[in-house]
Symmetry: C2
Subunit: 341 residues, 2 copies
């Protein structure tokens, strides 16, 4: 029988039964044993176990304004990248004795605001936000007036927030160096048409830089949404014919775009890498056996990003002085497979 505090035992019941005051119980619960007699201590412990007493966190929180809750806002939790991020966040928070309040914003700016405000009403102690990108001012106000915020994965172009993300510049330069060495003289950048997502922007800008510095070509960029199957096929065809005679590769900015383009390639009956090669951001287990010998892809440190986000929040919660915001870039890994042979 693990459970039996049916009667809603409170600190007062424990105090009465132990023959001490509520204060002493409170001290016991908070580990303030310095000036407590050993008798009291062991007596209290006995009674607590006997009554199966567990303190009401709501009451504690109300009194202390410390809820031991972290608010987590995720743009799309069904995306494995983000669910692993949440796993990292959740596991680490739990280790610190915190719980996470998770909400799915579905990339909607208004929902992001609404949920954040509502979580503040619950007195969360901090936020980890995978932001939609349109709430920079709002987030700054929250951070200024309430609790710390760490941005997960998606930066905003303002250095006032702690940000934890993958090192996308490095990753992009690395993969393009690799592609160039393999003889791919034409690299097309394929991404989702989502405005304002810092991650995409950084990958795209680094791609452009790499086009100039490494490949010495004009960038070839395509924006295609997840549901736009026809457009994806048109773009694939266009990219292939436009670069006739060159070794060419489709470079996708994220896992969803990879899926979109793989579908198109499959539908068009193109061979990888003979007709067109492919590679991109986000590495998933199934990529090992798609095509004749797998898809070249960049592993992102999703779990570790989650862990670091929590570490930053905890740092700020413990800090007594202001801490300067930093951007933490975690290393990625390039997995080379047959799709870029």
């Amino acid at each position: 029988m693990v459970v039996k505090n049916k009667a809603n035992i409170t600190i007062a019941d424990v105090a009465k039964k132990a023959g001490v005051s509520k204060t002493t119980i409170s001290r016991y619960l908070n580990g303030k044993f310095e000036f407590m007699s050993d008798e009291s201590k062991s007596r209290i412990q006995e009674v607590i176990e006997e009554l199966n007493f567990r303190p009401n966190k709501l009451a504690r929180s109300l009194k202390s304004s410390k809820s031991r809750l972290i608010g987590v806002l995720i743009s799309d939790i069904s995306n494995p990248f983000f669910s692993i991020l949440v796993q990292g966040i959740s596991d680490t928070c739990n280790q610190h004795g915190y719980h996470v309040l998770v909400a799915n914003t579905n990339n909607a700016t208004a929902k992001e605001q609404e949920y954040i405000l509502s979580m503040i009403d619950q007195r969360v102690e901090g936020f980890i936000v995978n932001t939609t990108g349109f709430n920079t001012e709002f987030l700054r106000e929250i951070e200024d007036n309430y609790v710390p915020i760490v941005l997960a994965d998606r930066p905003v172009f303002s250095d006032t927030f702690d940000t934890v993300k993958s090192d996308d510049q490095q990753a992009t330069m690395d993969i393009i160096h690799y592609l160039a060495a393999k003889g791919f003289s034409r690299v097309g950048f394929f991404s989702e048409p989502i405005l304002n997502v810092g991650t995409r922007i950084i990958r795209q800008q680094t791609y452009r830089q790499a086009c100039k510095e490494i490949l010495r070509i004009e960038p070839q960029e395509y924006e295609v949404g997840v549901k736009e199957k026809e457009k994806a096929q048109r773009f694939a065809r266009e990219f292939v014919s436009r670069n006739e005679g060159y070794k060419k590769v489709i470079f996708t900015a994220n896992g969803l775009t990879m899926l979109t383009m793989l579908e198109a390639i499959h539908a068009l009956g193109l061979r990888m890498p003979e007709d067109v090669a492919i590679c991109g951001f986000e590495n998933w287990p199934w990529m090992e056996f798609v095509g004749s010998s797998g898809i070249t892809a960049i592993s992102l440190p999703s779990y570790e990003i989650g862990v670091e986000c929590v570490n930053r929040i905890m740092l700020r919660l413990e800090a007594t002085t202001k801490i300067k915001p930093v951007t933490i870039k975690l290393p990625t890994k390039l997995n080379i497979r047959g799709s870029t042979e």
Copy 2:
């Protein structure tokens, strides 16, 4: 400026400024306008907007023992099946004005207990549990003494819990009927060696039943863990040679096992479906273009399971009388592709 309740405005401040009592403010906040003058009402509204007042949910919760929080325990949130489930749960809870406290149990029985107890301390109003399977007694105690529980996806063999899951019996019978009609006389059941997970057990039992009633063969069952690459290859080879001369198909009990076996098939250089066919539970986008023409797979209603779980909880929270526990089985869909041609 959306935010500016820096000074922690309380109901008392609003009352003072509006020239009424705290009670009236409280009534206003709770929509008890029946006996309130229109002057008071509009005056209060003004002041609330002016001061940007938002009620402290912690205080409300302490008073009412209603936290507007639902606890969600997930065995492995990095698994897309579960992350979509969480999405369904989270979206639906938010629609009802609830937030979700999410914890990842990593299939650990002790963690499941620990997090549940801790969430009770936070006064969550209900639980949605994707249980490890070893906490039946514990969960029953929680439900008896505290708050409603709904089991998501994984049933336990006890009819005392509300359970929401996919209709695995139907799905299994359907796919085996389909396979039999296609001429597959040998079907092997491949699953993870996890004990006590109701979902696996049901799929396996139905498979056995189908072996008897439809295929009229002895069941051929293999248990292989996600990391056991060699074992997977051994089993694949064994299954193929054992059923030499028959049309045979590997039937995987979940997405992870599908990945494990695809890897093995790929490593062994087996052709699908010529050397061995494959199909299984869980349908993902990438399955459309693995192999020459996709993988046959069963779509599971993950999101809808999440939605229904919340509906059940809400039903219980609103109910005044005891509600009889039910098991809700949601329909699946068979996606036929080239791997079972």
